[in-house]
């Protein structure tokens, strides 16, 4: 990877960083921070699902581990939140490695892998909901103590910049994966695992690397969530909502692309807000649209929004070539 590879990312992030300078309304910043947290979780999913072709339906396992680690380390052990953030992300990576080791070693793939990840997330949710250490169903509160060294800020803008910096860092990381030998091997595993193996790719090691990175990134999103809302419980942290969001954003934006998860998260949540404005406060209406959109996207735009844009740019050349699965 050369510097030129990341110039577009730097320009994009710098442009987005200007947003809080012009918009100071708390509702808008709230929406943007939440969207960035979802985008970060989705970027994690995209490393494993988009580049590696392993569709996890249980990324809540990583998100929740990050959220709980960040909250519990502070609330129970009094560890500094910035340190807790780092430990939380690492814990997500470790959980990813363990789940990956168990399921990839047993040769699980496709729907079996989707099911086993779902089950792991569900086990963690039940445990977190029942254990006393995690506060049970009441959840964990992080004490309000607004100091920058405490990872709590007066303005929402500061949080926006931190979230944006993390999303930007993962954009660079994903760009590196795309360009690296590791990334090429990962894509080879996605396209044809048997062929990749025959060519000497250590498929288990590649998939384990992907799920560990994926888990760490999604756990970082979980840490950020806990730090922003200062509260987690089992249904937020390990709930299916985040597993679903993490899948939807890359697919809507563009599976296995650097910008896909971010584009998808912004498009989805923008659309969600518009639906809520149009339909009033009917519960579930935005998610209903998301679900329908997922079906439509798979049917008509398998390469997501970015794929559609690319097709618009080159209408003639793409007509003979069908998109990959």
């Amino acid at each position: 990877m050369t510097f030129r590879d990341i110039v577009p990312i730097i320009i994009l992030v710098a442009f987005l960083a200007l947003v809080p300078v012009f918009i100071t309304a708390n509702t808008v910043l709230n929406f943007l921070v939440f969207t960035l947290i979802v985008a970060l979780a989705a970027q994690g999913w995209n490393i494993l699902g988009g580049f590696g072709g392993q569709f996890s339906f249980g990324h809540a396992a990583f998100f929740g581990t990050g959220a709980y680690a960040a909250a519990l380390l502070q609330a129970r052990l009094g560890i500094n939140p910035w340190t807790a953030f780092a430990i939380g992300s690492a814990a997500g990576g470790a959980v990813g490695w363990v789940i990956g080791y168990l399921s990839f070693r047993s040769g699980l793939r496709g729907s079996y892998f989707a099911l086993v990840t779902l089950a792991f997330a569900e086990v963690l949710r039940i445990l977190a909901n029942a254990a006393t250490f995690t506060g049970g169903a009441a959840g964990v509160l992080i004490k309000l103590d607004v100091r920058p060294e405490n990872f709590q800020f007066e303005s929402r803008g500061a949080f926006f910049w931190i979230a944006l910096a993390l999303v930007g860092a993962v954009l660079v990381l994903t760009r590196w994966i795309e360009r690296s030998r590791f990334g090429a091997q990962l894509v080879a595993v996605r396209e044809n695992e048997a062929a990749a193996k025959a060519l000497g790719v250590d498929t288990l090691r590649v998939k384990l690397g992907a799920i560990t990175l994926s888990g760490a990134v999604t756990a970082a999103a979980g840490c950020l969530y806990a730090q922003y809302f200062l509260y987690v419980d089992a249904n937020i942290a390990y709930g299916t909502w985040i597993s679903v969001e993490a899948i939807l954003a890359p697919i809507i934006g563009g599976l296995g692309t650097v910008l896909g998860p971010l584009v998808g998260a912004v498009a989805l949540h923008g659309l969600g807000e518009i639906t809520k404005l149009a339909a009033g406060s009917v519960p579930g209406i935005d998610l209903m649209v998301f679900g329908a959109l997922l079906v439509v996207a798979v049917a008509f735009a398998p390469d997501g929004i970015l794929g559609l844009l690319r097709r618009l740019r080159r209408p003639i050349r793409s007509s003979g070539v069908s998109g990959h699965a």
């Binding site: 072709g53 569709f55 339906f57 168990l102 399921s103 047993s106 040769g107 699980l108 496709g110 729907s111 079996y112 989707a114 099911l115 086993v116 779902l118 089950a119 792991f120 569900e122 086990v123 039940i126 445990l127 909901n129 029942a130 169903a137 299916t240 679903v244 899948i247 697919i251 009917v282 519960p283 579930g284 209406i285 998610l287 209903m288 998301f290 679900g291 329908a292 959109l293 997922l294 079906v295 439509v296 798979v298 049917a299 398998p302 699965a325």
Partner: protein, 290 residues
């Protein structure tokens, strides 16, 4: 600490719940066995069926057991249409696409129900809901006993349909070798849709059997569908006897875990079995080698 009578009652109760679990799993395993896909919309469709039972009771005063008669063909038709006109065309024949399409359907259906019925939990107040039957030393809930009998009966009927009728033969042919089946003149898209319809019809029956003793809210399907996945994986994907025995076994496991570990941890036994089976023997107890 626990008297044998309490444990016996837990086992019998587990068997009765397990039979309805088996019925839900039956729809899932049938679809898997023929289409080789995992239908993630199964839970949301069960929730829809339960709301349908609740609605016909509240609006027309139709008894849940009688509701089996109109709802089963209705859900068969719904399932047929979903597979024929939505899932089939949208997925372009790729397995991972089917996974995503059914996931999208489940999100859309579940939240449409949330938007329509709101998140309140609803129950039916039938006059037989709390009746009990005394068998030896055991006191058994009458609606659940009926549920057990009906679930076993439906399983047998489905088994006969698959093994004795021409439709069943066509379904089995497509399950084994879809190219060969289409070469001898079987309409594969039609058989797929019929199978999906049968899966949904099982859900309608299960919903009618559940509603006298159970409650419904828009998220209820999720609780059942993970249990159903466990049963299907345990019994072997696509195996009908596997679904029945898996269902009964899981019902007992849940009941005993609930007794020994308490309600909040009761379901953990199910998921541990699920993960263990997936890791150690993903083809299940009755499944063919994948």
């Amino acid at each position: 600490m626990y008297s044998p009578a309490i444990i016996a009652e837990a086992v019998v109760n587990g068997l009765m719940t397990g039979a309805v679990y088996a019925l839900i799993a039956l729809g899932l395993t049938l679809v898997y066995g023929v289409l080789h896909i995992i239908n993630f919309a199964h839970g949301a469709l069960l929730t829809a069926a339960m709301f349908a039972v609740w609605s016909v009771y509240v609006v027309f005063g139709l008894d849940p057991y009688l509701a089996i008669l109109p709802l089963t063909p209705l859900f068969f038709g719904l399932g047929y249409a979903l597979q024929r006109f939505v899932i089939g065309p949208a997925s372009h024949g790729s397995d991972s696409n089917i996974l995503l399409v059914t996931l999208g359907l489940s999100i859309a259906v579940e939240n449409a129900l949330l938007a329509g019925f709101r998140s309140d939990t609803r129950t039916l107040n039938t006059d037989y809901g709390f009746q009990v039957v005394e068998i030896g030393p055991l006191l058994l809930s009458k609606p659940r006993l009926i549920g057990f009998g009906a679930a076993v009966l439906v399983t047998v009927l489905l088994w006969l349909l698959l093994s004795r009728t021409d439709t069943g033969k066509a379904i089995r042919a497509v399950a084994k070798e879809k190219l060969g089946a289409s070469l001898v003149g079987i309409n594969v898209a039609h058989v797929y849709a019929v199978t999906f319809g049968l899966g949904c019809a099982c859900l309608a029956v299960a919903a009618c059997l559940l509603m006298p003793t159970f409650y419904v809210n828009p998220r209820i399907g999720q609780a059942f569908v993970l249990v159903a996945f466990t049963i299907v994986v345990l019994g072997g994907m696509g195996s009908i006897p596997g679904a029945l025995f898996g269902g009964l076994f899981i019902g007992v496991v849940e009941s005993l875990c609930g007794l020994f570990l308490g309600d909040s941890l009761g379901q953990i036994g199910i998921f541990l079995i699920f993960i263990l089976v997936l890791l150690v023997r993903p083809t299940g107890l009755f499944g063919a080698k994948a």
